[in-house]
């Protein structure tokens, strides 16, 4: 597991989500990347149940339970600014047992699915973010496998992303700022996905004509 950057690519003017994804994948294939299957990252939201909230009326915390096909035997559970737990896949059934404390907000389930490409030591995943039946955006994840220190290879990653994303290259992700030379872990990737999904959720609530 190397350093990963997750970012959103805005839909191109006048084109649909599908077409923008195709443009990106074509650019990748021109570079020389090979398709290596598919990936899926999904996120479910849980509210802390009303009965457990104290009388001071704290707002319930949101807990996200995410899965990443890159780590198929794991399940990630995290709070927005809090710790991230990496657990077994049985965690999902545990959540069912904890129905009294955490309630599933089924309408908020969001996922990103797409193809996985490999280019030399880079793994690129271009996916369509969907919430329910509608496609809401495009996520791109770039991983540089040999390096495990986040801040070391940011310039390298950025140069690679510029070669196929052009102007849409993002800035340094916020997780990198807190890492300071510790080893990058899968939990950091999942945190980046959570932030991306939250951003997309807050964006367009009304589907734009171009998405159809």
């Amino acid at each position: 597991m190397g350093v990963t950057c997750v970012t959103q690519v805005p839909v191109a003017e006048g084109k649909s989500v599908q077409q923008t994804v195709e443009m990106l994948t074509r650019k990748l294939e021109l570079l020389g990347a090979e398709k290596q299957g598919t990936f899926c990252v999904d996120c479910e939201t849980y509210h802390t149940a009303a009965s457990t909230m104290s009388n001071q009326g704290q707002t319930g915390k949101l807990m996200y339970v995410m899965h990443n096909s890159e780590y198929p035997l794991s399940c990630f559970a995290l709070f927005e600014n809090g710790p991230c737990l990496i657990a077994d896949t049985y965690f999902d059934t545990l959540m069912v047992k904890l129905k009294g404390f955490f309630q599933n907000a089924k309408a908020n389930k969001i996922e990103s699915r797409g193809t996985r490409y490999q280019y030399c030591d880079f793994l690129v995943k271009v996916g369509t973010v969907t919430m329910g039946p509608s496609a809401r955006g495009i996520s791109v994840e770039v991983e540089y496998c040999p390096c495990v220190i986040a801040n070391d290879c940011w310039n390298l990653l950025m140069e690679f992303m510029q070669s196929f994303m052009g102007n849409h290259t993002p800035g340094v992700p916020s997780v990198f700022g807190t890492k300071h030379d510790s080893i990058y872990s899968p939990a950091d990737t999942v945190v980046q996905y959570m932030e991306l999904f939250n951003k997309i959720r807050k964006q367009q609530q009304v589907p734009v004509a171009g998405i159809r």
Binding site: M1, G32, Y119, C120, D121, F122, Y144, C145, P146, C147, V148, I149, D152, C153, N155, L156, E159, F160, S163, D181, I183
Partner: protein, 298 residues
């Protein structure tokens, strides 16, 4: 096998007696079976024959048990051959009975003697060549003419403690590089060099000379082969050569290796970019330690 060397545990006298006892045991067992096979013929009455047969049979069985007891006693005296097989794994090769088709052991010995001689000659040659300096001052010539080329110390056979000391000193020189030394198979040292959180390098040495290197990423499985940086490291170990002062060689190799700590951070000095065909600058110049892409270094 252990031809001239007598291991202290083996009692050769008892050994030869034990071999004789085995022969005696074999013959008495053969006698038992012969007796069973032939039976008794030279007595007239049936009873006489039976008694004679039983007596002969009992006597041959007694002799068998006596010989067996003697053999056990002697085998206790023989003792165990010492566990330290002096030839380690290569000695096991010499046990191959089919010497004609696979003369591995003799070829191995020849290769070893040849490389020793080569090293010795290289040392002598470099000593002689160093004396013939290119300066033409008379002083220098006079001094060197008096000196006989002295027999170079065989740097191939260094005590392992010395090698350990050299490696420890180099380890302390560079804070971000840790060197672990182990000797898993015999006398050659194997170093595991961890460079910050970037690379792991396995260096196999033969006394103080570097034989082979393998370079792996920090979280890669150590037993699979790698590509570019391993090739560069092998080139480096061939480049840094000095028969007289192998510790200088090891030190310069480690300094070169240490420049890889910025493998992902340094752009190529020639083209200014980080990536070329998806690879970072993997070449480090031997003198200036600058980073270049493999294709940019020409």
């Amino acid at each position: 096998m252990a031809d001239g060397v007598l291991s202290p545990g083996v009692n050769l006298e008892a050994f030869s007696q034990a071999i004789a006892a085995i022969q005696a045991l074999r013959s008495s067992v053969t006698r038992v079976f012969d007796c069973l096979k032939d039976g008794m013929r030279n007595k007239e009455t049936l009873e006489g024959r039976e008694k004679g047969f039983v007596a002969a049979f009992q006597e041959s069985l007694h002799s068998v048990s006596r010989d067996l007891g003697e053999l056990e006693r002697l085998s206790n005296l023989v003792g165990k051959p010492s566990e330290n097989h002096p030839l380690h794994n290569s000695g096991l090769l010499s046990l191959d009975p089919v010497q004609d088709k696979t003369p591995l052991y003799s070829q191995l010995l020849q290769a070893y003697k040849w490389s020793n001689k080569l090293q010795y000659h290289a040392g002598l040659a470099s000593g002689l060549l160093n004396q013939q300096s290119l300066k033409r001052s008379a002083n220098q010539m006079g001094v060197s003419a008096k000196r006989r080329p002295k027999a170079q110390p065989t740097t191939l056979v260094l005590p392992p403690q010395y090698v350990d000391d050299v490696i420890n000193r180099i380890d302390r020189m560079f804070p971000e590089m840790t060197i672990q030394l182990s000797r898993p198979n015999g006398a050659s040292a194997m170093l595991l060099v961890t460079l910050g959180k970037v690379l792991k390098v396995i260096v196999v040495m033969r006394s103080l000379f570097i034989d082979r290197t393998i370079v792996k990423g920090y979280n890669e499985n150590v037993y699979t082969e790698d590509g570019k940086v391993t090739d560069h490291a092998t080139t480096a170990l061939l480049h840094y050569q000095l028969p007289q002062m192998p510790d200088v060689v090891v030190r310069s190799f480690m300094t070169w290796l240490r420049s890889y700590i910025k493998l992902f951070q340094a752009p190529c000095q020639r083209c200014g970019k980080f990536l070329q065909d998806g690879l970072p600058p993997t070449w480090r110049d031997f003198r200036t330690l600058e980073a270049f892409h493999d294709t940019c270094r020409q």
